[in-house]
């Protein structure tokens, strides 16, 4: 039968797309940027230390992007990520917490992050607030709390707790530990999204909450779990930023929400939920990081950087669009 053979043909293209070609546009953009780097700064760009530096820079916000990907695929949005990270970093570096040593500090950051995420989740799923508003409120309140707790001062990690800082300074195979943590979070996130019922349900809840509900999924509890997961990622990110800056501060993570959301969306995830990939988000994030790195290497002035960044974003997405041939909004 006709349909049969053609069906098979479609399936292959489609499968193929899911694999390699799906992110072709993003990969192409990355490659282009890398070529620009090689041409403009041949001696600096392709060095191991620069690549490590790019990954270290990407790690903190990368971990946050993983959580954000889940929330957005699940049909929500989380504006509070940067603020939650700041609050977790402050809480974990108060004198009181520091007195218990580095392990408790890390646990503290994770608990604070997850707790704040849980509050977001409660507000969204049981308080029935629009995610934008609930997490905006959290953004504002968490920054305020972080400022209060730290008395607006930057809190240094003390000598006895250098173990935290060593995540950034200790290298294995030349790569700082925090890059490994980032990679681990990405891998675990990928498995959770693509290989478990939790991931499958995330797509369902984001794509059609009513259908998910009628299929017996506890949409509210799942939504809550998604925000808690995002909060957990913020807690982990707080540990990484503490390691990198040796401090906890209420100013950490300013505007991370915008960067993380942008990375997720450039990666092809729809803001309306139900669709998207983690790999795309990470590629999107790397594009942003690479842009920043190239600017640093080339010492462009800020104004030109901004203009160039705007153009690059448009071109990167057009490249991707061309590849996916999606429909207009």
């Amino acid at each position: 039968m006709k349909v049969d053979t053609r069906g098979a043909a479609v399936r292959q293209t489609w499968l193929g797309r899911a694999g390699a070609t799906r992110h072709l546009g993003l990969v192409a953009a990355l490659v282009l940027l890398a070529i620009v780097g090689l041409v403009t700064r041949p001696g600096n760009f392709a060095t191991a230390s620069n690549l490590v530096s790019i990954l270290s820079l990407a790690a903190t916000i990368g971990v946050i992007t993983v959580g954000m990907t889940f929330v957005i695929i699940g049909g929500g949005i989380d504006l509070s990520v940067g603020a939650i990270m700041a609050m977790a970093s402050v809480w974990a570096t108060t004198l009181a917490t520091q007195s218990y040593g580095p392990f408790v500090m890390a646990v503290c950051a994770i608990l604070v992050g997850t707790g704040a995420g849980l509050v977001n989740g409660l507000l969204v799923s049981y308080g029935r607030l629009v995610p934008f508003i609930a997490t905006l409120a959290m953004l504002v309140a968490a920054r305020g709390l972080a400022q209060r707790m730290s008395d607006r001062k930057t809190q240094l990690i003390q000598g006895g707790n250098k173990a935290v800082v060593e995540l950034s300074t200790t290298r294995v195979l030349g790569i700082p530990l925090l890059v490994y943590i980032f990679a681990l979070v990405v891998v675990l996130g990928w498995i959770l999204l693509n290989r478990t019922t939790f991931g499958r349900r995330t797509y369902a809840v984001g794509g059609n909450p009513e259908a998910a509900r009628l299929a017996g999924i506890n949409v509210r509890r799942h939504t809550m779990a998604l925000y808690a997961l995002s909060g957990l990622c913020c807690g982990i990110a707080a540990i990484l930023i503490m390691a990198r800056t040796t401090t906890g501060s209420s100013t950490h993570g300013d505007l991370y929400e915008l960067d993380a959301i942008a990375a997720v969306i450039i990666g092809g995830t729809l803001l309306t939920g139900g669709r998207g990939t983690l790999v795309g988000s990470i590629l999107g994030l790397l594009i942003f990081t690479l842009i920043t790195n190239l600017f640093i290497l080339n010492g462009l002035n800020t104004s030109d950087q901004l203009i160039a960044k705007g153009l690059i974003i448009v071109v990167a997405v057009l490249l991707q669009r061309r590849n996916l041939k999606e429909r207009a909004p």
């Binding site: 240094l156 800056t245 100013t251 640093i296 010492g299």
Partner: protein, 320 residues
Amino acid sequence: AAPSSAAPAPAPAAGGNDEPGQKVVIGFSAPAADHGWIAAIAKNAEATAKQYADVEFKPVEPTNDINAQISAVESLIAAKVAALVILPNDGQQLNQVALQAAGAGIPVVNLDRVFPDKLAYRTWIGGDNYGMGVAAGHHVGKKLKDKGIANPVIVEIQGIATLPLTQDRSKGFADALKTYGFSVTAKQDAKFTVETGNQVAASLLQAHKKIDALWNHDDDQGVGVLAAIKEAGRTEFFMVGGAGSLNAMKEIQSGSSVLEATVTYSPTMASSAIKLARLIAQGKGMGDLVENQVPQSITLASETITKENVEKYLPLGFES
């Protein structure tokens, strides 16, 4: 354009320090120039560097993200510059990467916002935030005392509240006022921009129907503060500014403005920092001093500009 006024051409210094010496690369990292003062810092640094044929100036992406500034400095370390001039977004948070530079044998000139760890920098040069508050406090306190006002309403408009420099300025202001038996009635923080200054001032003027004196930490946001004051038609008080922008000096000069003084926090310090970095990299000392090496720390004095002395300061004013 600015540097011609802000950074005077090097006068032939004693000891011939301006004579061309060994060629050095000086790296420079500062927060994003989204503010007149910071913009002046970046420009002064660049202009001063250009005046020396033996200096290659290597600025990196200014950013307000700590994480990115760390990366930026890392890239300068990797490029093995001869000296680094760093104005950190936050001294504490960049301390570690500055230590890394020191570890790599690169002398760091710490500009303005200070690293807590003395091992992290070779020389610190910066303004005196506490002293700035003190200067403003004395000007306000003395004037009100002279007028014989008993319980004056003193209002303070701060800059970004989370910066240590803001907290230092406020403390200096309060301490100086205390010596006159006065205290601050109300304070609010703006964000160093014209617009935020305008918004905060508009509401503060509503909150206090009669004000005796107002100190605004920053002349950039001061433009907005002045606009709000004019819009409200308030003239019963006097205002003191901060930093010393050209605008503010012109207002003071006019004599018809509520702004009658400003306390300096001059971005010329960036020019000096580049000069220091060059001297350190070339192993020279400061010609006027006896020592063979550049000193470990230099604190600029905060001066008070009023109608009387404004002529003298005009050439140093920066365009906000």
